[in-house]
């Protein structure tokens, strides 16, 4: 029990935070929102996977990846490819010149299913691919970069270039990927209609549950010895190396893990939204994911979820009513968070939250569970 409490929840404050978040997304949202809005929240929560993965990678590891959209996209495309193949059965597509292949392939004069689409006929293989491929891709990138001690700014730029390459590739290879429109018209999962309200509820809860599981696993990673090492690497990489640790392996692991987490988010996105397109892969979505994480607090797993929800609610509300103002607001918010609240919402809560909790009957002064300083020290490190 103590193990669960300390290691999986992160002590008292972490436990309460987790409980509040779980209540919010598992009870309050489903009860008070209609299915359209709930589906929207579900979509936002899929971005939260990427935001949580960035807390691990960037907040704790000090590795800023501007390519989380790549992994989110790989997961999303994996799921979309499976659903598309199911939607393009021979009888559904008998008007095409080659029945049995997705419609966009037919439009682009492709007459047989490309080899890399074959595995996506099977759901099991698809799920394995969603979990393994992005992690493997991240492993390759990570191994190539971290083993050669490329880090900091250069890593950020190279991951960004990879996001650009993948986007251009998806848009350019229309016949294989559906091009700029992405993969659309996804209807069924093993014969089960995914556009029905019923399915949307189930996917919402599955998504929320998976997100909570990811948070618990991430918390376990952070409270373990590995988590302390990660922080140490962020703050003084050389000292950790001189202490005899192979720093690059730790970085590669956390990068691969974060890629897998983002990919789960991407797959859930496809299931809930019903399509996948390159606009969720490139630079802009990748940087937006960093924004979610930064606003929520780069050091807080739970804060990242709130940051994601807040920004996306804001985006939906504002861009509907004042589309002109939204970018100003977003830019201003971003600048002010970086300049005045480097630890985001969670940082504000840690600094001022005890004024509220002290007044509650059961409240005691919470201990700071996560290190909030040394952001500047880290920066010193990466300029050196």
């Amino acid at each position: 029990m103590n193990f669960v409490y300390e290691k999986l929840m992160g002590g008292k404050q972490g436990f309460f935070g987790f409980l509040i978040l779980a209540t919010l997304i598992l009870v309050i949202f489903p009860v008070f929102l209609d299915i359209f809005r709930l589906n929207l929240v579900g979509k936002y929560l899929t971005y939260a996977f990427a935001a949580v993965s960035l807390v691990l990678l960037w907040g704790y590891g000090g590795i800023l990846s501007l390519g989380q959209g790549v992994f989110f996209g790989l997961g999303g495309y994996g799921m979309a490819m499976f659903l598309k193949l199911e939607a393009s059965s021979a009888e559904n597509t008998k008007i095409q010149s080659t029945p049995g292949i997705p419609d966009f392939m037919d439009w682009n004069q492709i007459t047989s299913l490309p080899w890399f689409w074959e595995p996506f006929n099977s759901l099991t293989l698809t799920i394995i691919a969603i979990l393994v491929l992005p992690a493997l891709f991240a492993f390759i990138i990570g191994a190539a970069m971290f083993k050669r001690r490329v880090g900091g700014v250069y890593f950020a730029i190279i991951t960004q270039v990879i996001a650009v390459i993948l986007t251009i590739l998806i848009v350019g290879q229309q016949g294989f990927t559906g091009g700029i429109n992405g993969i659309t018209d996804l209807r069924t999962l093993n014969g089960w209609d995914i556009t029905s309200d019923n399915a949307k509820y189930i996917f919402y809860f599955l998504n929320a549950f998976l997100l909570l599981v990811v948070i618990v696993i991430s918390r376990f990673i952070l409270t373990s010895k590995f988590g302390s090492l990660l922080l140490a690497i962020r703050d003084k990489e050389d000292r950790v190396r001189f202490s005899g640790y192979d720093v690059s392996n730790f970085k590669i692991f956390i990068f691969s893990f974060s890629a897998m987490v983002s990919a789960i988010g991407g797959a859930m996105f496809t299931l809930q939204v019903g399509f996948m397109s390159p606009s969720f892969v490139g630079i802009v979505p990748s940087i937006e994911m960093v924004i979610f994480c930064a606003i929520g607090g780069r050091m807080s797993l739970i804060g990242a979820v709130y940051g994601t929800l807040l920004i996306n609610f804001g985006k939906t509300t504002f861009s509907e009513t004042f589309p002109e103002l939204w970018l100003f607001l977003m830019g201003g918010l971003f600048i002010s968070v970086v300049m005045f609240f480097p630890n985001g919402l969670a940082g504000i809560w840690n600094d001022y939250g005890h004024h509220i909790t002290d007044r509650l009957p059961f409240g005691k002064k919470p201990k700071k569970v996560e290190s909030t300083q040394s952001v500047e020290e880290k920066a010193d490190e990466s300029t050196a």
Binding site: R149, V161, G172
Partner: protein, 307 residues
């Protein structure tokens, strides 16, 4: 490739090469500014593309002003537009440094996020001020047309003008950074801020003018850009990644490396573009760059400094 005769191939290479030179000029001008800001100061300026767009919009503004009020001045306005683009972008850069960047020198990754926020604001400002439509200035007559050394080769004059402009700016930057006493102070500050302060250099002032200079050069890049393509609110974002690649590939602190890498990237892309689709040409070029950088993380011409 078999269906082309060898003389046709030579012409293709020459013409695509000149098309590449326009791209090279704009990339190099962008990269010169960024090499100063990123290579020398270590600031990841994601808004660099927007400073270029500022230059392009200033050129557009000048051209419509001249067209409407001083039509007889048309042949000469472009020169003044370049200067105005430099000044306006430089002033904006100066303000951005003062309000934003100077607080973040110790957190380079955060400069990336803050300047991204800045770029969002600038993009929306362009949209509000000039509309979402792409605009292009009316170019003076002497910039139009082309020069034909042989029957199959056809070289646009604006490309040669931009190339000349780039050469002038590159030389000026080289002189300013490596031959003037101001450049000495800039390089001293970037190498060791504390020490430079101790010997009496006003490092804050140096930072501000260095950043302003980098942004001003981006403004010139914008003016040059208007001769080859039209400008929209999101034009800057199209070039920012390429520009970063040029700077990183060339070796962040090396001016010569920046020139070589801008040339090779632009040429590779534009020659490949003739044989395969434009998007795939870009994919291959970027992919090759990423591969090379994995084996040579410090870029082509790394400065030999012990860190």
């Amino acid at each position: 490739m078999d269906e082309y005769t060898s003389s046709e191939l030579v012409s293709i290479f020459a013409m695509q090469g000149f098309a590449g030179i326009s791209l090279f000029s704009v990339l190099l001008l962008m990269a010169l500014g960024l090499a100063i800001i990123f290579g020398q100061m270590g600031v990841i300026n994601m808004a660099h593309g927007e400073f270029m767009a500022v230059g392009a919009y200033v050129t557009y503004f000048m051209s419509s002003l001249t067209e409407n009020y001083f039509p007889s001045f048309m042949p000469y306005y472009f020169i003044f537009a370049i200067v105005a683009a430099f000044i306006v972008a430089g002033i904006l850069g100066y303000l951005a440094e003062f309000a934003l960047i100077r607080h973040l020198y110790k957190r380079p990754l955060d400069t990336l996020l803050a300047t991204w926020g800045l770029s969002l604001i600038m993009q929306q400002s362009f949209r509000t001020l000039f509309g979402a439509r792409e605009v292009s200035p009316a170019l003076p007559d002497w910039l139009l047309g082309s020069y034909q050394p042989t029957e199959t080769i056809d070289i646009p004059i604006n490309g040669m003008f931009v190339l000349g402009l780039t050469a002038v700016v590159t030389f000026a930057v080289f002189y300013l950074l490596y031959r003037s006493s101001w450049g000495l102070r800039v390089r001293a500050t970037t190498q060791n801020r504390t020490m430079s302060g101790a010997v009496g250099i006003n490092t804050k002032k140096i930072d501000r003018y260095t950043f302003a200079l980098g942004c001003g050069i981006a403004g010139i890049a914008g003016a040059a850009f208007t001769t080859i393509a039209s400008t929209g609110p999101t034009t800057g974002t199209l070039y920012i990644v390429d520009t970063f690649m040029v700077v990183v590939f060339g070796g962040a602190a090396s001016l010569f490396g920046t020139i070589v890498s801008a040339f090779s990237i632009a040429q590779a892309q534009s020659i490949l573009e003739f044989f395969i689709s434009g998007s795939m040409a870009k994919v291959y070029t970027l992919f090759a760059l990423v591969l090379i950088l994995m084996f040579k993380p410090e870029g082509l011409f790394a400065s030999k400094v012990r860190r």
